[in-house]
């Protein structure tokens, strides 16, 4: 490299066409003509650079795929930088380019690529373009400097774009997982005429409490249940806020006209609750779901008869 590129910030809206006409046709930027004339060279260099930097991860995406992605991106880029291009990738000309970059980054985020790996895909383009630019401007160092400056700013912006899209992709994954977890983990089961049970699994934050409460109350109305059993065997920890949320659910159930039993309190949890000073008030609590069910049956007026006498 002839000189380190100057600050990337100073070029917003800069027209990079110098006084001397570029080697390509007039009005067509050097970068664009290089992209079309030396397409194969750029493409090869780009793909090779990605391969080299990601060799440990080789095989995740086939080379053909990478090539296809890169070709599409180069096509779009060539169009975008055809005239006096600005280096602001937010401008209209770059709409296609950013769309491709976004798609690529989101795709990689979903496939589990690391941020570095995703960014390398775009930043490798810098190496590839540097090579061809150096060759094309070997005899005109001052032109080389301007070209490198704007190319550098452009690729950096694209890199930022990649990262934003990558994070957005990850966010989407997280949100969809959260939603499916919320839906999955709050089933209300009918145990008997007038008895519903809600086995809780995982943690009980305020958002989940809301979902749980809604599901339970709607189920109580639908099944006209008198008793609701909340089983917390699967709840990892019960701290003050979880207890608070449980009590809220119990209170709401009572307002609807049903009784609520909390079951599945493990010995450790009982100890923790007492140490924390958690008060469940006058809520009926039972150690196991079976015990709670027995109580619930008595509440709805059903009797359990054992065939053989218990020891």
């Amino acid at each position: 490299m002839a000189r380190p590129p100057a600050k990337a910030g100073e070029d917003s809206g800069a027209d990079d066409a110098p006084a001397a006409p570029p080697p390509g046709a007039r009005g067509r930027s050097l970068l664009a003509s290089l992209l079309s004339e030396r397409r194969e060279q750029v493409l090869d260099a780009w793909v090779r650079a990605q391969d080299r930097k990601l060799e440990s991860r080789a095989g995740r995406t086939s080379e053909a795929n990478v090539r296809a992605e890169c070709t599409a991106l180069l096509d779009a880029l060539e169009l975008a930088v055809a005239g006096d291009y600005s280096t602001d990738v937010k401008s209209v000309e770059y709409a296609d380019v950013t769309q491709l970059v976004n798609a690529m980054s989101k795709d990689r985020a979903r496939q589990g690529y690391s941020p570095t790996e995703t960014a390398i895909a775009v930043f490798s383009l810098k190496d590839a373009l540097l090579g061809v630019l150096e060759e094309a401007c070997a005899d005109r160092p001052e032109l080389l400097v301007t070209e490198i400056k704007s190319m550098n700013a452009l690729v950096d912006d694209l890199g930022l774009q990649t990262f934003e899209a990558y994070v957005a992709g990850r966010e989407e994954v997280i949100v969809s997982q959260q939603q499916s977890m919320l839906a999955l983990s709050t089933p209300v089961v009918k145990l008997w005429d007038g008895i519903v049970a809600l086995p809780l699994i995982g943690t009980l934050d305020s958002e989940r409490t809301q979902t749980v409460m809604e599901n339970l109350l709607v189920a109580i109305v639908d099944t006209e249940s008198q008793v609701a059993i909340i089983d917390i065997t699967g709840v990892v920890t019960v701290d003050t806020s979880v207890a608070q949320n449980l009590l809220k659910t119990v209170a709401a159930t009572r307002l609807m006209g049903a009784d609520c039993i909390i079951s599945g309190i493990r010995p450790q949890i009982a100890q923790t609750m007492v140490f924390l000073g958690v008060e469940l008030g006058d809520v009926v609590t039972k150690a196991t779901l079976a015990d709670a069910f027995r109580v619930a049956l008595r509440m709805v007026g059903a009797n359990l008869a054992t065939a053989s006498p218990r020891p």
């Binding site: 709607v218 109580i220 109305v221 006209e224 809220k248 709401a252 009572r254 307002l255 609807m256 006209g257």
Partner: protein, 134 residues
């Protein structure tokens, strides 16, 4: 002037709130209800709120108030058919209506009142000071 009707059903009073209830109407209902309890000697009050979409803190407090006042006059209050959204709102407001009995529907409410009023010894149910001779 609009009023909420109070119907006598045997030993109980029955109120269905089917209009948008504002604070003035609520206060009037409270007054009327207390007068009727004294006049009829009712032992139970059923308040059906199954058509209400919204219960604010004022109404919530009023229900609790009606329950306490009625108990002084020896009448049990049962609030019937509260909707899930209303229940959640009240709980979020910190109003769990202590002392108010609740039931899912009118049938259950009647059954609840009957079991509470007739001095039958039910398992696990303490006799709520009903042993005063009258």
């Amino acid at each position: 002037m609009e009023r909420i009707p109070i119907v006598t059903m045997g030993e109980s009073l029955f109120v269905t709130i089917q209009v948008d209830i504002d604070d003035r109407l609520a206060t009037m209902l409270q007054d009327d209800l207390m007068e009727r309890i004294v006049a009829t000697g009712a032992r139970g009050v059923l308040i059906d709120i199954s058509t209400m979409d919204m219960v604010d803190s004022f109404l919530g407090r009023m229900f609790a108030g009606i329950a306490s006042m009625s108990r002084i006059l020896d009448a049990e209050v049962v609030v019937i058919g509260m909707r899930p959204v209303v229940a959640i709102t009240l709980v979020e407001l910190g109003l769990s209506l202590p002392g108010v009995r609740t039931a899912l529907n009118v049938g259950r409410g009647m059954a609840l009142l009957n079991s509470a009023l007739t001095p039958v010894v039910v398992e696990g149910e303490p006799a709520d000071g009903d042993d005063a001779s009258d």
